[in-house]
Symmetry: C2
Amino acid sequence: MRRLFDNINEWKIIQDKIEFDENRLAESIMSLGNGYMGMRGNYEETYTNDSHRGSYIGGIWYPDKTRVGWWKNGYPNYFGKVPNSVNYIGIDVYINGEILDLAKAKVIDFYRELDMKNGVLTRKFVADVNGKKIEASVTRFLSVKTKELGVIKYEVKALNFDGEITFTPYLDSDVKNEDSNYEEAFWVNVSTESSEKYGNVVARTKDNPFNTEVFTICANMSIKTNKEPKENTYMNKEYYSENKIVLDIKKDETVSIEKYVAITTTRDHNEAHLIEKSEEILNDQTIKGYETVLNEHMNAWNKRWESADIKIEGDTLAQQGIRYNLFQLFSTYYGEDARLNIGPKGFTGEKYGGATYWDTEAYCLPVYLGVAPKEVSRNLLVYRHNQLDKAIENAKKLGLNGALYPMVTFNGEECHNEWEITFEEIHRNGSIVYAIYNYTNYTGDFEYIKEKGIDVIVEVARFWASRVHLNKRRNLYMIHGVTGPNEYDNNVNNNWYTNYLAKWCLEYAVNNIKWLEKENIQSVNRNNVDKKELENWLKISSKMYLPYDEELDIIVQHDDFLDKELIKVKDLPKGNLPLNQNWSWDKILRSCFIKQADVLQGMYYFGNKFSKEEKKRNFDFYEPYTVHESSLSPSIYSIIACEIDNLEKAYELYSRTARLDLDNYNNDTEDGLHITSMSGAWLSIVQGFAGMQTFEQSLKFAPKLPQNWDGYSFNINYRDNLLKVEVNKEDVKISNMSNKSINVSIYGEEYKLEDKIVIPIEVNKNLCNA
Amino acid sequence: MRRLFDNINEWKIIQDKIEFDENRLAESIMSLGNGYMGMRGNYEETYTNDSHRGSYIGGIWYPDKTRVGWWKNGYPNYFGKVPNSVNYIGIDVYINGEILDLAKAKVIDFYRELDMKNGVLTRKFVADVNGKKIEASVTRFLSVKTKELGVIKYEVKALNFDGEITFTPYLDSDVKNEDSNYEEAFWVNVSTESSEKYGNVVARTKDNPFNTEVFTICANMSIKTNKEPKENTYMNKEYYSENKIVLDIKKDETVSIEKYVAITTTRDHNEAHLIEKSEEILNDQTIKGYETVLNEHMNAWNKRWESADIKIEGDTLAQQGIRYNLFQLFSTYYGEDARLNIGPKGFTGEKYGGATYWDTEAYCLPVYLGVAPKEVSRNLLVYRHNQLDKAIENAKKLGLNGALYPMVTFNGEECHNEWEITFEEIHRNGSIVYAIYNYTNYTGDFEYIKEKGIDVIVEVARFWASRVHLNKRRNLYMIHGVTGPNEYDNNVNNNWYTNYLAKWCLEYAVNNIKWLEKENIQSVNRNNVDKKELENWLKISSKMYLPYDEELDIIVQHDDFLDKELIKVKDLPKGNLPLNQNWSWDKILRSCFIKQADVLQGMYYFGNKFSKEEKKRNFDFYEPYTVHESSLSPSIYSIIACEIDNLEKAYELYSRTARLDLDNYNNDTEDGLHITSMSGAWLSIVQGFAGMQTFEQSLKFAPKLPQNWDGYSFNINYRDNLLKVEVNKEDVKISNMSNKSINVSIYGEEYKLEDKIVIPIEVNKNLCNA
């Protein structure tokens, strides 16, 4: 853990000194996004120290030629990357002709805050450039109201001189990815223009040999000043366009510019209209004016918080953590565009940046189900349905039937190239189907199965049926050569989670086919499933081998797991953690240490199939070996820990999840935020502390309260009912803010919730005080 | 199988038409080497079609920066490569000023032969260049007598014209490796010179960030002509030096040049003396003259054959195969230099080229023990002893004690970067110790253990002791996370071969320490082995888990092997083989198919520990699943097949070994020859058909004769006795050519061999006629 910002505020991330050593970490944390585009917390003005300047546009990607040491049959030819794109925030500032370089100027009273309530990043500082002191105030936001718009206001006050301030706002698309495999640039210049107070750059992703889509983007800027400039010139060249605005300034006077930028792309517009469209936006917005544009944006954020905010009383760190997670998650994705998905680093970094992983289905979908209109979640499902053909091709490449969804993708094609992941971490396929179950079960929108879901359900079942093999001696079906969610074990046999999920997928497919047949639905025929195939699926699922140890009475993570040397994390000598930075890979692999929930991921997914005692036995066995070196791990453990009344552990793991990036737990936040695991904090509170479960079309709560909290509350959207859940030291209050009643189970008791229910909180004394 | 050259000769490889489509394959097969240096069968003159020009110098290597998709802790920073070096054979030929380009000229009566008896490559052809016909004869050899010398004689006869022939012999060190990771050149120019009939180029391997040795090489040439030139000019520039010699020619006249090249390097000389040393060689050799130099070279080859030749009667393909293998093996290594080793592709290609693998100890050492003075084999052991410190460092990097010899190396540092191989294919470590056992047991030179061997034996034992773990439940030591010799199974647990070898290494260490203690030898103390450590080794070895299946009564290759889907190779549908070109990697891994001997490798190493029945059961079980997609596989299977009287299978596998490259079995010979597996044919005949075993300081034979052979014979050097073994359809004759008697067991009967023994051949009728 390494907390950079110690000034903790419930709604703000506050940085109260300029950061040189950890600037990249600060840049990650101060990231902004509006779903359409996003950027790291870079400075507008010149900064000549270490920095990772990065801005990214959703859905714009480039297929970077695979780099690999030793080629394995089946590897994809490219790894898709979100290209670091046009620097549109750039504003160089000159004080009497001397450039303001934050790395070199004497900077006093630096203050930066990310206002999460309003989605606004502001900065204030005093800088001394050769004796001339100025006070700068900078405000930036990416509009949630007008997605293609970013706005910056840059104010300078002269503290001890009369003279001139020069602002050079610019656009620069000569930008490279730090993670480019062969140090290539991904952009080519199309055109640039500049005029007084205007300028644009148009760039296109380079042609590639893989025949994937080429994208063109246009960045267009319009500049306003608070007084008439003394000089106003402009210039453009390849990849670059600037304005140069010189303003007279007197001591104690404030001069400012507003930079409006519109980013349009060929994802939404014809290439020929990109400039025109961006001009329209700039015209509309500049006419509205800064205050209006800012207010519209803030109102949109406020509305999101109204339905999604989680309040925690008595624990500012926890409160800030959950809000930061929701803020960054919503900054990445708010479901407006079914062509988009949620990249593990969102718009905040490059490694894994922007591609789609199973994280979306496993960790993010439940949050959107809970806090956003159901269309948001449905769009995530449609995204995968749209890519079914590619998943079928992918399975075929590996000599298998049905569909195998890729580990990492943009357009449905597999990008990743580690055999133990790409070819073997196939449990991901189960999560795609589980998401259909989860969505339809939660929302009641079973029409989705008829319309689209069944196609995915059938093809994934076909995959599993071809991927298992019959062990004739034992007359059981097995799945060899897989990597489970715990990636600290590669190429194992019979990973319980994978086998269980495969078995479930087959049964779920059979049940859905039967249901559709009963309802005489045409979509059955669409997929040509015959009786023989159904019987085969049933045979496999009924004879699926699920490793279990009778003596310990626990599920076994995979064959041979119990043959390992079993050492607990707490017994490891100091200096060994994190393992992934201290141990060679083979040592990690043969060790018993678990990177992220594996058996417990299964118990989480199928929480209604296992008793509390079973969960407790397995949690107590596996948790001591778990190092949580995946950001996706602690939330799941925290949820199970709550359920088995281990509240202390649950709280410890919640903290790790909720402040993963703010406290840089994994020592890698400088590369970007862990966006998909941002959902974990929400899950930990709602499904963990509040014990919300929605299996079998029912809604259950079993709220608990961590000892050091005074209370917490959140809203939840369940089947078009908006509920408010409030928990404090005394009682649990659930209010129904919609006008129809709903059945709710609380602590196992059934209630008909009309207006509200208040019952005393159930406290497990043994464990809460442990 | 794809045989390029159909004209089969016992002593020659004959190519009787020019090859355009498969030129790279032809170049590989026509490779020449003299242990010091070697080259592919490229043409001297211009050839503008596809070709891989390659010449390599033993021990000269460059650390090429690692290329990897996903970095794993513990990966080495570089992969050592033998840099493709100076093109010293180049001679451009002009006919009346028109260049002779073999890719474009009309070429008639092309004939090339590799004379293996004499180590000479010759070519003859008629070429028509714009109506001017010439007949060319080209002879090339790399002197075995004078290792730094290469000689070419190029003769041209005018068939239908009077005019002029221009020869432009040149040296060119502007050469790149095809397998360079980042398309970098490995050479920088130091100096070049030229003068009438002379020229040299000096180049140095580029500085590297890994602080490995930098090498400088000098190529110096001296040209002789058979008549006074009409013109003689010269030129040099960076990386390049040439002479231009114009000779008048009349119809039916023959003009010729001799190009002598000396290659000196900083491995043997001070950089300042490289040119001088090479001039000395050129002076000496040109004074001797072409015929003398050639004869000295041929005599040296003839002498090698006198002791090493294997004669096969009645099977020209087999005869050519075994000679080709010995020829290429000796061209790569004949033990003159303990700093050198045997690269898997020798001097014939780049991939894996020139580095040291466990192949040397496992497959090559026995051949040198049998056919070369014992110093040759001893040098191979000393090579590893010299690298012990680096092996200790290597183990340390992986968090382990003792020494782990690298998978791939030049100077002892690990080069390879696939976790499943680099970190997990640790059985290689056992072969380093087994080689000490093999060498000392075969030669009787136990002094070697005292002098050097014990250091390696102890450190490898320490490695195993730290690499095992105790499975407390079963109270057995296990080795998890390994890759056995069968690389079609990665990251398995308890590979029987690895566990057995580890157990043996520990016991062998204990026995040697005890022996040294008894003899009161100081080298015990040198390694600080105390009683407690010895006891630990004994405890581990006595409780080592060795997977066995009682029901099938076979050794189990590794945990879970028998859970696989067991399909026999013969039952695979057509088009699946070779698997490594048709299946995705995960499919290969989870299949039961075996790339190379694994359990059987252990039964081969420890042939005296297993009964014929045990071998038969295990062979019969594993052979049907073996695809032999490693060149190192068929020989071991062939040897066991002989022992269990499956002569038909033994012969089939022998053919595959002996003609692997000549018949391009693995469809990759264009990349270079499989040098280390060249030993397999010798092993198959001597240890297989002739049944030679040398366990426990005894010498045993049990000769068998493949049905279609009339007989075979070979010499063997055993403890300074030179024996001749002759086998024909009637009897087995073993002659002792030294002047002391020796005990020999033949078919299990003990004999005292004075002069010779002749006994009838034992024929297993059932199997020989199968």
